[in-house]
Amino acid sequence: MEVELLELLKDLETLKRSLPDSSLHASIDKMRLRVDYVTNLANAAPARRSKVKDMSAEVVDTNPYSRLMALQRMGIVENYERIREFSVAIVGIGGVGSVAAEMLTRCGIGRLLLYDYDKVELANMNRLFFRPEQVGMTKTDAAVQTLSDINPDVVLESYTLNITTVQGFDTFMSSLKNKTFRPSKEGSGVDLVLSCVDNYEARMAVNQACNELNQIWMESGVSEDAVSGHIQLLVPGETACFACAPPLVVASGVDERTLKREGVCAASLPTTMGVVAGLLVQNTLKLLLQFGNVSPYLGYNSLKDYFPTMEMKPNPQCSNAACLERQKEYMLTKPVRDAAAKAKLEAAASVALEGPLHADNEWNISVVDDSDPDSIDGATSDALPEGLKRELPTADEFQNTPPAAVPTTTTVDDLEELRKQLEALNAE
């Protein structure tokens, strides 16, 4: 732009000289002043930073990654720069998803895939991230606009679709499978899927896709009364899938009847959503960059500042067929896992233990781990830690006996015939 404005100035100068009529010189000079003004404006406008090739640990004001690379120096993360290899898919770019996307963008994640079908509304302004001037844009477009300004190094892909519909789900699946970003990666094309949606249907759709693709994912949620939330890690076959048991919610800890207000479908607070997004991305970073303990489930009750945690084993009677397949595969790899765990234990023991702990063991006492996570006892316990409860009931035992004959004239079993019968009734 600067070059073009300089050219324009030169052209004006040439024009002025070639004009025999000096009465026009004044207006040409005026135009030159205006070009000068525009040049100044353009120079003052904030420049978008250019992409960086390597993450530098150099401590200078101009390095966007110096504080992140310092995690290595502090001994928290072994190799922070690995973050650029990772792809994370975020489903639902609302109060939690958009903030999670911004956090990952600022952390310099390699690639983000964003899914949402909604548009930005003024009613969203009580939450973080979106700005009033973005009202009317799709959430995915608005997010890409902001995120690419914040960090141009992140590869952003946006998908404006509803994953619960047949067509949207197909696109969702194929986008997760696409491996062009890192062809050498095993499994699907993404390292993690984050579910930041606000409804059960969409969570079940994410669950279905991840079970089918054997894709590790994290679920997040904020209660409709905006005072509690949770995050949950789901590893197909290894932990409970979302369909293994009715979803958990964090009990508010106060009388429900005093909270439930008629006529209001959902409240929201930027605080609760920001906290949940923070917990979700923290767990994501721990998982991807391998530091600390990755939480299998973490609840947040803001009224009592209570954070329940728990682990959930998969349900061997899960209604989701793909989940059962993953459970079977996980059981088959048990010997390999056991061997690896034993080798690790022995390696640790050979370093730590020089002699036997006790010289004699008259009663042959040995310590046995009674919490073997691989044994499936046929029934998942319904006992929940204090402060957690189920959101929906489990399906009743399903009898295979056909329901009692109903008074109906329908005896045909042809789809087209049935369709016509319904149409005939509609037309009556």
């Binding site: 047949v166 059960y200 249907e201 079940m204 109906t408 009734l425």
Partner: protein
């Protein structure tokens, strides 16, 4: 089922239950499920007609039977209020219920999600979860949409949010 009126309860027991647990991605089993959906919808519609309580028409909008469109109506103070009705069969059906939409009422009531999806969370979702896969579209209409209309239409009319189509002072749909 506590808290439900006796007529809804007795209607419900007469709607044929379904048995095929299959969604739109399940090929031949979905076709089987679709047949059961039709049978149950036909029986429910016939029952409504014979009780002089016809209140919806619904047809599959595509050959796969994954999108449905139609009309539903509710009589309040002897006036009939009619609305477009539409919904998709979700990929995770029947584990999750269809999200019933009344697009003309979008933005007119709080008991609705964006796009005109009616709020079913409290009164219907637990019942659906408990009775999966035996409940189908007809049950969703009977236990999800019918009570919603009965609760919301009188409020919408009385508050002036919707007007009857013969009300000349209005341009709103009815």
């Amino acid at each position: 089922m506590e808290g439900w009126d006796t007529s809804t309860k007795s209607t419900l027991t007469q709607i044929p239950l379904l048995s095929a647990k299959a969604g739109p991605r399940d090929g031949a089993s979905w076709t089987q499920r679709l047949k059961e959906e039709y049978k149950s919808l036909i029986a429910y519609t016939q029952m409504n007609k014979s009780n002089d309580n016809d209140w919806f028409h619904i047809s599959a909008a595509n050959p796969e039977g994954t999108r449905w469109t139609g009309k539903c109506w509710y009589v309040h103070n002897l006036l009939k209020y009619e609305f477009d009705l539409q919904f998709d069969i979700p990929v995770t059906y029947p584990s999750t219920a269809p999200e019933l939409e009344l697009p003309q009422l979008d933005g007119k009531t709080q008991k609705m999600y964006r796009g005109g999806k009616i709020c079913l969370t409290v009164h219907f979702k637990p019942l659906w979860a408990k009775n999966c896969p035996r409940f189908g579209i007809a049950h969703a209409l009977c236990l999800g949409l019918a009570p919603w209309l009965a609760a919301e239409v009188p409020i919408l009319v009385d508050s002036g949010m919707i007007k009857h189509k013969d009300d000349s002072s209005s341009s709103a749909e009815s």
